[in-house]
Symmetry: C2
Subunit: 533 residues, 2 copies
């Protein structure tokens, strides 16, 4: 395709996108295609001769679009929002036009430096304290592809940190001799900041192989039953143990500090080594916020344990000063080794854009820096720049900072806050409707823009099993439609009863208005009442 063909195809793509957003409200939100719908339509091999782009663009509309679920639709209430917008589309156009693999500062200095800048902007927007800022020289932020990638990345850092603490402990116990290694095991690098103070950061520890081999199988990652599966998956990937601590309905499924203390004490007595705990601000099931202040205080007694705060969905609401106490900003700032949130959920930046901040970048780079000759640069060698490849699992990286820059500038702090408050307002509308429906119940209090409810008719007593069956049928009846999407979940079993099947109503999409919420809820009520008949 030459330049003028691109100009034409580009204009047409812009127009097609404008048409899409003009019509989106009138479209069904849910794709109702059957598995295999597209595989059946397309040829089974690439064409021999090149095709005109006009044909390809037409096929996008006719073949691809029917299989698209419209996450930007005003009636998309499933999972969590995954917002895209015109700013993100423009950023991806510009970014792809100057595409590069981004592993080094000098792959394109602008990409790295813009990421440093916008991650400090966002750290300030969310109230993260100075040691999380890149400008501190010690910590800083990076944009990754997903909260799962962030979790896995910090888990690697947490494992190495744990092994360093164990090495140091062995050194101090054995008079500077660890398993036959000399005092070379501990070397000062002069950095001393953050939650660990001088304890771990001030030293670069060489971890003896035998300590690594003997300790790793005993190391345990902790979360709760409500921690996103990304925690367990990170542990599985690393070949390590994950323990899901119990949570209870009376606590709205928040992880409690006494449960943490009791388990870590028992496990430690049994020879296990806690190396990481994931606390969640806004769980996927119910939007619950763990008791980070109390948990953080407990972890002070378990110095091998790294605290990662996963606020994938709720974290962006730290941009609202009135929510910072609820969202536990102060304890995060006091105790967390790392914090992550997804711009690409409620946060107005198109997937993928997960923000991860660490308080000690050296924990990442010491675990992840493997620099061969062909990746060396004068700037990297001198330490005058960040080479983000050493902060992440993979080598290459997209120019994601551009979309964050476009969004934060185009909306401004005011516009960003207004957007978030819009979702909170819609949630208030829904909460009132649910609470005034005698046949429905909220299973936990509303959390930000998430409401978790079930149908619970008031006409007679229902067993848990009956209610689960009713609500499964209600969800199936909703899921078969094209005009609304809601996700189901199951809350943990308690008191010998089976777990609670329930439905999540997730707000925050930019196009959702009061009428959409009212319409959506009316539909739920109508389908539920048909079920009973």
């Amino acid at each position: 395709m030459d330049i003028e063909a691109f100009r034409k195809a580009g204009y047409q793509a812009v127009d097609a996108i404008c048409d899409y957003y003009t019509k989106i409200r009138e479209m069904p939100v849910n794709s109702t295609v059957e598995p295999g719908y597209l595989v059946k339509q397309l040829p089974d091999h690439a064409p021999e001769k090149g095709e005109e782009f006009a044909v390809i663009a037409k096929d996008f509309q006719e073949q691809i679009m029917p299989g698209i679920t419209h996450w930007q639709h005003p009636s998309f209430f499933a999972f969590f929002p995954s917002i895209t917008n015109f700013e993100s589309i423009l950023a991806d156009m510009y970014a792809t036009s100057v595409s590069n693999p981004g592993f080094n500062w000098n792959c394109s200095p602008a990409c790295t430096e813009l990421e440093m800048v916008v991650m400090d902007w966002a750290a300030k927007l969310f109230g993260l304290e100075k040691s999380f800022h890149g400008s501190s020289g010690a910590g800083g932020g990076i944009i990754l592809g997903s909260a799962s990638e962030a979790c896995l990345t910090v888990a690697v850092a947490a494992r190495e940190r744990c092994l360093r603490v164990l090495t140091e402990d062995a050194v101090s116990l054995n008079g500077n001799h660890v398993n036959g290694k000399s005092e070379d095991s501990v070397q000062s690098n002069g950095i001393s900041t953050g939650v660990d103070g001088a304890r771990v950061k001030a030293t670069q520890v060489v971890i003896p192989d035998d300590l690594r081999a003997s300790s790793t199988p005993k190391m345990v990652m902790y979360g709760s039953t409500q921690t996103h599966s990304i925690g367990k998956k990170a542990a599985i990937i690393l070949g390590m143990q994950f323990r899901a601590l119990p949570t209870y309905r009376k606590d709205d499924y928040a992880l409690r500090a006494d449960v943490v203390r009791q388990t870590l004490e028992e496990d430690t007595e049994n020879g296990l080594i806690p190396f990481m705990l994931i606390a969640t601000v806004g769980t996927t099931n119910t939007g619950t916020i763990d008791h980070i202040a109390d948990i953080g205080a407990v972890l002070k007694d378990f110095p091998t344990t790294y605290l990662h705060v996963d606020a994938a969905w709720a974290g962006v609401c730290l941009a609202l000063p009135e929510l910072r106490q609820t969202l536990q900003l102060d304890p995060i700032n006091e105790y967390a080794h790392s914090f992550s949130t997804n711009f690409h959920k409620w946060g107005l930046v198109a997937f993928d854009a997960t923000a991860l901040w660490v308080r000690d970048r050296e924990l990442l780079t010491s675990a992840l820096d493997v620099t061969p000759a062909y990746l060396r640069t004068a700037q990297g060698d001198s330490g005058s720049v960040i080479d983000y490849r050493n902060w992440q699992l993979a080598l290459g990286r997209r120019f994601r900072s551009l979309k964050v820059w476009f969004v934060l500038r185009s909306y401004g702090v005011e516009g960003y806050q207004k957007h978030l408050r819009g979702g909170l307002d819609m949630a208030n509308v829904l909460e009132e409707m649910i609470q005034s429906s005698p046949d429905f119940e909220l299973l936990v209090p509303k959390s930000l823009a998430l409401l978790v409810f079930r149908y619970h008719p008031s006409d007679r007593q229902y067993s848990q099993t009956e209610l689960n069956d009713l609500n499964r049928r209600l969800h199936a009846s909703l899921a078969s439609r094209g005009d609304i999407i809601l996700t189901q979940t199951v809350l943990p079993a308690e008191n010998g009863e089976e777990g609670t099947f329930c439905i999540r109503f997730s707000l925050g999409n930019a196009r959702t208005e009061k009428q959409d919420v009212v319409q959506g809820w009316d539909l739920v009520v109508r389908l539920a009442s048909q079920l009973k008949k």
Copy 2:
């Protein structure tokens, strides 16, 4: 930004991109900004009020562009090409306009199904045999973000496969009892295909915890000194050992099968457990192709060892039938458990688009599937669709198949082949010039579009140290310029001499013409002759 504002900004972005590509040949290829150039210019916090997009777009040109290294420039000869094109830009526009997190088939059925289709197109384009095709029902392809992600992903699968083989061996040794576990450890799932035949695939093995704990620290991943650092990094991330096997100049730094056999025998005798070997088709240093046929045959005697073929750069050249023997297609088809190549290097699809094919998808899903209630779907539960999250480390994923589809259709097989042959032609031009320069030498024979050379004046004898010094200065002199980019590397030390510093001249960019190669080489010759003065 509303719809009409986007239309305006979108047209302007298209025009700006057209301008960029109209002027690119006249621009310096290399950004010569100093570290901190952008951080200094930008405010240290997000703006309070939203800004007009016209201002932001202007700042992109004035503040970002000076810090962009122009990877599409005809004189970009560094690293490997990282090609973007108009098809990729258009695909990113469309994809971002319907952005979704892509973890399930039903996040947007089109995204998953298009990926299944284009990965089968590409498998056929590259000549991969049927068991690598998704349509086989057993294997299939996935698009990931980078070759490093592909390597780490298959390493997890390889570790689990190794543990299964060990479990099975223990079962057959101990009469269906492994460490006190009953015959439940081995359950048939009826799948039996691929290189392992019935051995591993036909069983779903429950790996005993104590076998995992005792075996994992002994497990070793192998590559050569020329394997990309992504291998070592994957091992480090997993907390496992990596061994770089020696390669020699006389073999053009290809990994030899006898070295593999000898090392694996020694390691096995010493109680270590080989679990994975990375063979490379087209190393980063020199474009070397490992002896996969012989290595594959050796690995038959080490059944715990998974063979991953990393063809990140060279793999796309399998689209050229005349190169398939050189690139070892038959042995790949015979022996490899997985194969990956980057569309986003020479392969005409913008970063990020790494193709990974496996012959047994169940090796991935059994290692990576963690499905909580809130991610369950009727389609996923029924097994009628692929949920790609279970083939990868992370949960969320971009709609990357669209750009592969746009590119393969727009170019067609003919256009794709023509592009690749263009790079090969340019490399022939350069090879002839280097070979006819008495003061330069190729350190290995040209590989596809990569030439690795050094300045070696013919006026007198030079020691290795003198030559390294000369070439370091030559590279520094090239690196300080804006009009060309070449990357350095160091080839392994041998015979007690220090390693060989050399310069890589990497071709394949879509805009490079004969005049650019001639000009680039003339510059190298001129700078070199100035050095001697």
